[in-house]
Amino acid sequence: MSNSKHPVMGKVRQAWMRHWQGRPPSAGLLTAAFFGAAIMIIPVVYVVSLAAEAGPGAWSRLFTTRVPTLWWNTFALTISVTAASVTIGGLLAFLTLRTDLPGRGLFRWLLAVPLAVPPYIGALAYILVFGPRGLWFQWLGSAPVDIYGFVGAFWVLTLFTYPYTYLITSAALRRLNQNFEEAGLSCGVPYWKVLLTVTLKLLRPSLGAGAVLTALYVLSDFGAIAMLRYNTFTRAIYYQMTGRFDQSAAAVLSLLLMVVTVLVLTVERFTRAQQAFRQDSGTYRKPQLIKLGHLRWPSLVFLGLILFSAVLLPIAVLLYWTVLGWNQGTVDARFWQFAWNSFSSAAAAALLCVLLALPLTYLKSRYPSRSTAALLRIAYGGYALPGVIVALGIMIVYDRFLPVFYGSLSMLILALTVRFLPQSMQSQDAALELVSPRLDEAARSMGQTPLGVLYRVIFPAILPGAAAGGALAFVSALKELPAALLLRPAGFDTLSVRIWMESVEGFYAYAAPAALLLIAVSMLPLRLILNRY
């Protein structure tokens, strides 16, 4: 159809071409990218709609009784864990990169290891030692602290989230230009003042990014919080979902939790916009290491304490109980069946993540436009969604549109995909930046369709990046607890589900081998994460 015959169509066409700067993506590519973003947003939409449908009775009942406590508990934990975790992470990054601390090369990667320990496993380890009848009690006759409640949740979450800030700040410190600090020093300002004014300011964006990641994690954690008997939104949502056969109350609480999450993300965007500053790479010089002097021993003790609490103690305790379990024969055929369930569902989800991420990241790198940006923002938004909310959304969507498949394994795989798609997008994104668009043009000129180019030419070219993204999604899916608890089909318990069920009942010799296996597998792609920063 030509423009002269259909003036309106012509206008639309012109606007469309302008929108894509004269090079619109093919319908196939757009559909594929749209599909990826839709999978991310649809569950959220239906959680919101179910919350909206909940009668005023449910809202007022929740608001007058549960919500104030939940707000307070959630805020108190999120803020205190974020503050502690960012302080520890930032300090550790500084100590291992900018000082003459002995053994810093080894510490640098050891300090990232807690990233492989999901906090609910960390919580399990701490209950095993400091619980009312834990190892400490058995040796010394009384438990040193009450591990249950705020203190335990705060301690465990801090220990297993500080690596976020640690890694991001380390990366920033490596790029930090010495010139800024020297400018301060040359004016006669003492070094500690320069640190506080200049260096800390330059690090603010990375500390902020670490804080946001930590806060989002605390808001979404279910396992550690529930195991340590603290009560936040995620825990309340989970028990509303399992304790009732009507899920509107769970949807209302989910909506409130999403509001908090959006708040955190807004604060992040706002502060990022305010703190944009660039460093001139042309005059970059490697910074001098600071001599710790008499602070050397306190620093070493601090580092040792963190490593002991976040790495050595949990792994040693789990090893101890695994040996006990092994001797009792808890690592049997059933155990390996659970492991296989975990691996196959996580692998399916990771593969799906890689395939779905491809059109989205490709669109972003080759066809930038406002709609592309919107699609990407939707797709990336999923990383802030707690597992309980994703599970609830998937349940509602299946209930309304796919009732035939309700209760099938596809529910779990889809939930894992929604939850971890952003992780695989990040890695692909970085890899795609390095592939020249000329490769696409060459392939197109050889008669490939646009989607054909993407999957036959681009994909092999970015395979390492895509595989890294897939590996990250895989280990995350492996560790996911609430979605697996809520969505698994009969006879399909995963390792994370078993860890939860066995530790609830106190059968630690069954829980520990599964926990140790999860940690061991999660350590494998740690290099990928370290390389990214």
Binding site: G57, R61, L62, T64, T65, R66, P132, R133, A226, R229, R235, A236, Y239, Q240, M241, T242, G243, R244, F245, D246, Q247, W340, N341, S344, S345, A347, A348, L351, L352, V354, L355, M395, Y398, D399, P403, V404, F405, Y406, G407, S408, L409, S410, I413, Y455, R456, F459, P460, L463, L485, L486, R488, P489, A490, G491, F492, M501, V504, E505, G506, F507
Partner: protein, 334 residues
């Protein structure tokens, strides 16, 4: 590497999952898995029927059965709470079962159409640590839990626990909504420690972290058998003249409406009603068998040794949701 192998792999993993799903008897169970597994293993061994078990909270599986009603995946619903069995039946999620084997169970403990049948009784008791208090000092009534005298000294389960919900429903039937609500407010003012489940309570009371807790009686028997921390006692509450008596609930099994493996499901339910499995069913959890001929745990009070609240359990089913709302309104909600 091309993309096709990935797609093939994806199909493989999904198919592997689907194969795992294909089975001969699917059970959704709200009962502690430890109590169910030995029975299932015995059943599998005897019949060669492969069982897939899904364990969690019973209320959650009522929701799941409802969502799956047009394409049922489960054959049998095991519930730790009689009211929820009746809820499922009233929602047409269970179907009639005219097997003669059901007649082994007294009539008041099964659905009129046989859609569900109770198997064992559990009584709400106050379990206490004998090193910290004595039977005489203990509260003699559930209502005392709202007495400021016991502030901070005891544990209860989280409100979503089905045994807790039905217990509150029973209070509503006997004393009315207003009285129950006031009781719950007083209970909350006493700031009891609220834990995930009864196992947490029995361990904490056994270890002397708290003086007492509200549990189902068999948790007391389970704690008695622990190698340590077993110096515990139990008070059957509200035994006085004119009081309501201890609340007795049942756990049992229902036949899912449209069960894909209905024949196996019927066989499983019949199997459970034979003397040996019925003994095993009660013995695993230390519950009280509903058939008097079946031997109970030696130190358990027989059902005629104490006053039980006289309530038809079917009556509690329709109250389930409103009881949760009432609990929430009184500040006892998730």
């Amino acid at each position: 590497m091309k993309i096709q192998p990935l797609v093939v792999l994806l199909v493989f993993f999904v198919a592997a999952g689907a194969v795992a799903e294909a089975s001969q008897l699917v059970i959704y169970s709200g009962r502690n898995e430890r109590f169910v597994m030995p029975l299932i293993e015995a059943f599998q061994e005897e019949t060669g029927i492969r069982v897939q078990l899904l364990s969690g909270d019973a209320a959650q599986y009522v929701h799941r059965l409802q969502a799956e009603r047009n394409n049922p995946r489960a054959d049998v619903f095991i519930s730790n709470d009689g009211a929820l069995l009746e809820v499922a039946r009233s929602m047409d999620l269970l179907m009639a079962n005219d097997s003669e084997a059901l007649e082994a169970i007294p009539e008041q403990y099964r659905a009129p159409d046989g859609a569900w049948v109770g198997l064992a009784a559990r009584t709400r008791v106050l379990m206490y640590n004998k090193d910290m208090t004595t039977e005489e000092e203990m509260p003699a009534s559930v209502w005392d839990l709202a007495d400021p005298q016991w502030h901070g000294q005891f544990l209860i389960t989280r409100p979503g626990n089905a045994s807790m919900v039905s217990h509150i429903s029973a209070l509503r039937v006997v004393h009315g909504d207003e009285t129950t609500k006031n009781f719950l407010r007083g209970l909350m003012d006493n700031e009891p420690t609220i834990v995930r489940g009864h196992t947490d309570i029995r361990r904490a009371v056994g270890a002397g972290e708290y003086a007492f807790g509200l549990v189902n009686n068999y948790y007391y028997h389970l704690q008695l058998e622990e190698p340590r921390d077993n110096h515990v006692g139990a008070v059957y509450p509200d035994q006085g003249e004119g009081e309501m008596g201890a609340f007795v609930n049942v756990s049992g099994v229902g036949l899912v409406n449209g069960a894909p493996n209905a024949a196996n499901a019927l066989q499983f339910i019949d199997y459970l009603l034979q003397p040996e499995p019925m003994y095993l069913y009660s013995y695993n959890s230390r519950e009280t068998p509903l058939v008097p001929d079946i031997e109970a745990v030696s130190d358990a009070k027989r059902i005629d040794e104490y006053r039980a609240a006289e309530l038809p359990l079917g009556q509690l089913g329709p109250m389930y949701n409103t009881t949760l709302d009432l609990m929430e309104a009184a500040g006892f909600g998730e």
